[in-house]
């Protein structure tokens, strides 16, 4: 089992003819994902790597039965492209694009919420259910099939953690990067809730970072609603206050959002927090009683 995507997911790639879109379409297909269609306005009728290209998501969905899209469209048009997807009847929209204006992300969030469509991102690495499907830009080869769910605000740090899990012989049910922007669709809590329900997941790794209070809210949710063990990691213990660490959301402001606060909240919820990514497999084994 896994969450949000599996071997039945039928994927449409928006921005399939672009540099990133075409490269990652190839990588997703190679991983075994069912990429059934692509969209680039004005390039309908062409094919890319054997995948038919359409002008609109509506056409792509009705012609190929896609039920999820992944968006590689440039930042200026990404929110509109994602809204088009949400209005076309897909269940999941994953926005990889970095640099989407915040007001556009707000509009996108409201529209997907209204339509009941799951939004992941923007500015996220996507998600992967190892051995089943990959809707994202993560290197597929480091992932192994298993029963640990991973959720993270970061991209490459997630790969680092997954690589540690692989070295430690721990496979994953689904690995999901929710993104580092101030306005994102799927949150820690949504994901924790899904992992709690998923029969194929026995434990969860939560990877947070400084800024905001999402980790504190996640800790509260874990304390009140989760029976499965969770192991945490927080990036940015050494980050100085008031300086934005790359991600728009990664800033300690007004004394809020420090790594200490988050670690304390998680510890209080019974979540052991690793000092280093390489300690995560050991903590997982300990919590699972192996």
């Amino acid at each position: 089992m896994s969450i949000y995507i599996d071997e039945r997911t039928r994927v449409c790639v928006q921005g399939i003819t672009g540099r990133d879109g075409s490269f990652h379409t190839g990588a997703m297909i190679e991983y075994g994902t069912h990429v059934v269609s692509g969209v680039t306005p004005g390039k309908g009728g062409q094919t890319r790597g054997g995948v038919p290209v359409f002008n609109t998501v509506h056409e792509a969905v009705s012609e190929t039965g896609a039920n999820a899209t992944i968006v590689f469209v440039p930042a200026k048009f990404a929110a509109d492209a994602a809204i088009e997807a949400a209005e076309s009847g897909v269940e999941l929209v994953v926005v990889i694009t970095e640099g989407v204006p915040t007001l556009d992300a707000m509009r996108l969030y409201q529209r997907t919420k209204q339509l009941g469509v799951r939004l992941l991102g923007p500015n996220c690495p996507g998600l992967i259910s190892p051995g089943k499907a990959k809707l994202g830009i993560m290197p597929g080869a480091i992932h192994t099939r298993g029963k640990v769910g991973v959720v993270s605000r970061s991209g490459t740090l997630t790969y680092e953690v997954v690589d540690s899990l692989r070295r430690g012989g721990i496979g994953q049910s689904t690995v999901i990067g929710i993104g580092g922007d101030p306005i994102i669709g799927t949150t820690f809590i949504d994901t924790l809730e899904a992992f709690e329900k998923d029969e194929g997941t026995t434990a969860v790794v939560l990877i947070g970072e400084i800024g905001g209070t999402d980790e504190e809210q996640a800790a509260k949710f874990i304390k009140e609603h989760m029976s499965k063990p969770v192991v945490g990691f927080i990036a940015g213990r050494t980050a100085p206050p008031g300086r934005r660490m790359g991600h728009a959301g990664a800033i300690i402001a007004g004394g809020k959002g420090t790594a200490e606060d988050k670690i304390e909240a998680l510890s209080d919820a019974g979540v052991p927090v690793a000092d280093r990514p390489s300690e995560i497999p050991g903590l997982l084994r300990a919590t699972l009683g192996r």
Binding site: V100, M106, E160, G180, E209, T238, P240, G246
Partner: protein, 379 residues
């Protein structure tokens, strides 16, 4: 992007918010001329991108044009929290009866703009929020629907109970919201919003931060960028699309991804070292980016060793390795370099490095330990 108070005032004035007359000047004689034109009492304010200007002596009242000139002379060139004052604003000083706070920020929790108003204006709103949070009234706004007339009235009524004042504050609130949306701001605030003894409402200070991701649709705001406040390193980094923050340690870091970059810093500290910087080279890995990153880091005299930590996902390790070799051949490094390249196309990357007598560490722990030891050995 931060813009100056005078620029935010210009935007708000353009939207019809009542702003006391002002002009920005760069020399004392000009300040005197403006004070003469405005007449009466004026305030001379340093225009720099930091808070606490008043406490630092960067805000002064002047009764006469001569006094305004004198204040401008003192403030221009002044250092406020490490920033030099190059411009001052001379503005009509409004008589103050009451001071309010009105602001809008992007709220992660409600996924939309949230209004904050407080009858405790004129002071640092963060300390009000920390000490007496009940004095701040918050109202989330639906970004699709926008601010409604009744919400504007509700916010205004929270600040004052006089009908004629509420009647002036509500439109200011609406205009501030419109400016926030039209400028793609991430923060817009008026602190204080003043009621003068004659019952008039004035925006006496204004602050706006603009969403960097939206600057492409606001060339007029993008042009407001004041690079005088930006160090050479920061400007270079910004122009190359690198995200850089200078720190005080001696281990320079070049990493792809913000979360991994922070974790690299944390690990340096864990192994007993001190990071010299945060630097995220982002998704693409052109030789120019790597070269610029090295330039920025080597310009810091404290740095003893450079650590390159790349986990390839969208970034391909062989591209990074080739970029690295190209960068080093174009401009050999004066400092030792330790490398860890892993992920997409890792094998090919290791081959490329080996062909040039370099190697890559296997894990992040290994490369960080090595860098910290080298920084110590040579410190």
């Amino acid at each position: 992007m931060k813009i100056h108070e005078y620029q935010a005032r210009t935007i708000l004035r353009g939207r019809g918010v009542p702003v006391p007359r002002f002009e920005v000047v760069t020399d004392p004689a000009e300040a005197r001329r403006v004070a003469e034109e405005i007449g009466g009492m004026v305030v001379v304010k340093a225009q720099v991108h930091v808070g606490g200007r008043g406490k630092a002596g960067g805000v002064k009242l002047a009764n006469t044009p001569e006094e305004a000139e004198q204040h401008a002379r003192n403030i221009l060139g002044m250092d406020i929290k490490g920033l030099t004052v190059h411009k001052v604003m001379v503005a009509h000083a409004v008589d103050i009866e009451r001071e309010y706070y009105v602001g809008i920020v992007v709220d992660r929790a409600t996924k939309g703009p949230v209004f904050m108003v407080s009858s405790e204006g004129g002071v640092d709103i963060e300390s009000v929020a920390a000490e007496t949070p009940e004095k701040i009234f918050k109202l989330p706004i639906d970004p699709v629907q926008g601010l409604t007339v009744s919400q504007a009235a509700q916010l205004a009524a929270h600040l004052d109970d006089r009908v004629e004042v509420v009647g002036q504050v509500a439109p200011v609130v609406t205009k501030l919201y419109n400016a926030f949306v039209a400028s793609d701001a991430s923060l817009a605030e008026i602190n204080p919003l003043v009621v003068s003894p004659d019952g008039k409402v004035w925006a006496v200070d204004a602050k706006m931060n603009i969403d960097d991701n939206a600057l492409f649709r606001h060339p007029e705001i993008a042009a407001m960028r004041d690079s005088a406040d930006e160090s050479d390193e920061l400007r270079k980094a910004r122009e190359m699309g690198l995200s850089f923050v200078k720190l005080d340690g001696n281990v320079g870091c070049v990493v792809n991804g913000a979360g991994l970059a922070m974790t690299t810093m944390d690990l340096i500290k864990f192994y007993g070292g001190e990071p010299a910087n945060f630097l995220d080279i982002g998704g693409s890995s052109s030789p120019e980016k790597v070269m610029t990153a090295f330039d920025i880091i080597t310009s810091d005299p404290n740095v003893r060793v450079i650590l390159l930590n790349i986990f390839g996902g969208i970034t391909r390790c062989d591209d990074v390795a080739e970029g690295l070799i190209e960068a080093l051949e174009a401009r050999p490094l004066s400092l030792p370099l330790v490398v860890r390249l892993t992920g997409t196309n890792e094998t090919r990357a290791r081959q490329i490095l080996a062909e040039h007598g370099m190697e890559s560490a296997q894990t992040m722990d290994e490369v960080v330990e090595k860098a910290v030891a080298m920084a110590r050995g040579q410190a």
